[in-house]
């Protein structure tokens, strides 16, 4: 696993690049660990509170530990009318967790999100940012079963 200091160091020369650094950290760890947040604040010349303020403003950044696979269910209007509620329920049942939680084995985190811009094929979920189209409640075990 890459060192968080190296990851942050790679973004150091990018002006205003703390969000880029957060993205790079999340790519490696799936969230922003506390010590990495402190280091990023130091490198970009912000207080820890300011860096925390940035990290918690954006819904795609997380300062809480998350699972290996982050599932996001779009619940914006186009997905809502296409049956997002049933898909959420099917995922909660299959994973045995509620929205916002991580499975005990650390494999899946289930989150809600707003539109991910794939409205030609609603309802849409994404797993680690890869969109999956025209999802039905019945398909959930098959779709999520592929992620080991």
């Amino acid at each position: 696993m890459a060192n968080y200091k190296d990851i942050i160091d790679n973004c150091k020369s990018t002006k205003g690049g703390i969000i880029e650094a957060f993205h790079a950290l999340q790519k490696e760890f799936n969230y922003i660990p506390q010590e990495a947040l402190t280091e990023a604040a130091r490198v970009f010349g912000l207080s820890e509170a300011q860096a925390y303020g940035v990290a918690t403003f954006y819904s795609y950044l997380s300062v809480e530990q998350r699972g290996k696979y982050i599932i996001r269910m779009c619940e914006s209007a186009p997905c809502h009318v296409a049956g997002a509620d049933e898909v959420i329920k099917a995922m909660e049942d299959y994973l045995g967790i509620k929205v916002g939680e991580t499975t005990a084995d650390g494999r899946f985190t289930l989150e809600l999100c707003e539109c991910i811009g794939q409205c030609q094929a609603t309802p849409v979920i994404s797993v680690n940012s890869k969109p999956i189209f025209n999802v039905t409640a019945q398909q959930i075990p098959e779709i999520l079963g592929q992620y080991k």
Binding site: G17, I19, H23, F57, Y58, S76, P78, C115, C119, S129
Partner: protein, 405 residues
Amino acid sequence: MAEEMRVLLKYADQINPESAEDYIKVGGYEGLKKARSMERKDLIDEVKRSGLRGRGGAGFNAGMKWSFVPDAPVKYVVCNLDEGEPGTYKDRIICEKNAQALLEGMAICGHAIGSNQGYIYCRGEYPFVVELLKNAIASAKSSGVLEGFDIEVRMGAGAYVCGEETALIESIEGHRGEPRFKPPFPGVEGLWAAPTVVNNVETFACLPYILVNGAAWFAGIGAEKYPGTKVLTLTGDINNPTYFEVPTNYTLRDVIYKLGGGIKNGKKFKAVQVGGTSGAFIPEQNLDTPIDFDSMGAMGAALGSGAVLVLDETRDIVDVVTRISKFFEHESCGKCNPCREGTFRCREIMEKLNSGKGSEKDMDNILLLAKVMQKAALCGLGQAAPIPIESTIKHFRHEYMRKVL
């Protein structure tokens, strides 16, 4: 008239969007060459004459926006690819089909305002578009077409408000994406306090074609006061949920029944929401309106991003609008009180109405709150948030009354 008119998407799926070479083979980068042979003032005048207006939703004359940029040692060109309006995916489509036209358009703008640095702010939901654009920039650089103009891609992180230009600038600077007070406008004081032009993907992508074919050609397409083509994205209860590029005098009815193939499963039409989730809901009797900015505005709706969400006769309008009110509560950045509290109360009242516990008094209150938000919110988010509520109480009042005590 039932035909599409493809300008930006003419070579969709025929060229590799990452490849500058492919793009040059179909006439690409000729517009930039022509722009660079012109004086900056003449170039801005040409764009003004074309009548090109912002395709992100605000509809401001692009050349006019550029003309406000003062002399300064450093200036920036910023492309808004935040595309957060639910139901909208046209900027993704333009990048996936014709990314080089966006790069060329940004370089044209760079020449017009005297900037050699561009930024593309791409939403965090599109990491694959970020990769595509980085490859496209590398390809353009290696073929030498951008000359001294440099473009950097920055990725957003799931904040709808960052589609607002000053919030977007804050985000590029590495801050929380909260809108700034205006004035000063970004054209005068934008990214890192330097003059900055922020335009939408589609606006930039129109520029190469305007330069090659001339301002008069562009001004002659579609609606007189909002000329050109518009890329629309269809979603909801429609047979063909896909993208189309049409001249701006195309009517909503043709969008839905000709290109869209009509309502799914043989059902009847109930309403269409145009411009994304902040748009007005439009009833059947207004479907013969052309999609251009001013025609839509005249009936109290907006073209906005060009998203078209169609609802069939079985859809519960009050339920859909309740869901939309949750969206705005979630996406309000919290900086200004009218939006932070207003979106919270809108959601609260909508839930009350939707669950059958509301009264006509609640409807009066929410309409009053809507007026306050439209006048007092700092940015477009809070101003537009009540539009779906207002428009449905106006056109679909009977649906609310069915749920009122």
